[in-house]
Point group: C2
Chain length 221, copies 2
Amino acid sequence: MQAALALIDEKGLATFNIRALATTLGVYPAAIYWHVPSRDALVAGAIALALDGVAAHLPQGTWQLRLAAVIRGFRAALRAHPFLAPAVASELATNANFDALLLDHVLAALEDAGFEGAALVDAFNVVIAAMCGFATLELSTAPAGSSAEWQAACRGHIDAIDPVRHPRLARHVGSLRDRAFMLRWSNGSEQPLDSGFEAWVDVVVRGLESRSRMLRRLPRV
Amino acid sequence: MQAALALIDEKGLATFNIRALATTLGVYPAAIYWHVPSRDALVAGAIALALDGVAAHLPQGTWQLRLAAVIRGFRAALRAHPFLAPAVASELATNANFDALLLDHVLAALEDAGFEGAALVDAFNVVIAAMCGFATLELSTAPAGSSAEWQAACRGHIDAIDPVRHPRLARHVGSLRDRAFMLRWSNGSEQPLDSGFEAWVDVVVRGLESRSRMLRRLPRV
DNA sequence: ACCTGAACACCGTTCAAGT
DNA sequence: ACCTGAACACCGTTCAAGT
């Protein structure tokens, strides 16, 4: 798994293959299958390895601080292995390899926030989606093709925005160019969206605060 | 592109291949390459086709309603083509095929919400991440392997939660089982996380409201 | 128990040749 | 301009045979 993770970190997911892994391990490709059932299982193992330890050093403090730390910690772990980002999105959605400690921390924070019953389940899903959503999107990589002309095509498309049909987009394109989702050609490793991410954490925490207050004023269903 | 989208919807992304597409089109595989440079381009085209029209019918109303409609509309479009979800996550991150009308709508709503300058860019990234994050995670599919034993492994892992080490997880596992990210084996097509998604929309909108109020009380940087 | 050696099946992509 | 026909390269996976 460690060798797989190292190879993915080095070359990317698309070019990671069993034969290369076998070479670095000094065995024949078929030998891998004695230890692991499939390539997918190797990727899943690499993900588990990469995200291991997010739950290890979580701070004390208010539930707001603790939830923010979970979301920031997940992003930090993924930033160390950015090529895993696309796999994480599809892998973590339905996954038996969950980190029980991390999930327990999330639940503890949400209980402190005042969520219970069905609202707690909803809030849990909100936090997990918030944890995965921004970071996987930020770090997912461009297609494997030649980046030079692809970047040029991106820039061309962006610079061709019609100020009559899309006035606000045209007005703000200067500050959005290569600094916003869907309008960038650099990925999150080269060009981190740090302030956007902090806004994200802020919005999620404030939103949970506000929703919790709202729910506690209404009669339970 | 339509044929590609139809094939992906039918069989899934992993088993979608050029040869099958050529067969349904009644041509040799090599003929595809006259019209399209690569398999990736076909997937990207299918995504563009699937997400086309999200911006078409957006309602009038408060900025809160309009942003919620964007996030809901994106999920609805993706629900019609769930097999695309994993590709969307990596594809939309850096993408020249953006829908200018949709982005213009988002900017208009955020201007109405009082965001400007650098804070507007951050808020834009928050909204796009919110739009993509929950839906792609909810709809991303399980690994291609045999689902029967895989489901059993998931359930087994969940039912083996240790109530001593993870008391809150153990306490709530009954309501989280197969209804929460990382603790489910069904995917979002079979088992939609509707109430979680509505909580998500609520949290994001409330968070943006709260953040906007906060920013306007502070001196500009 | 764990690995070798070789093979199979599949698939993206290329290319010279057709019309 | 667009497609055929065939081939190449690559890769996940299997399996009988080794030790």
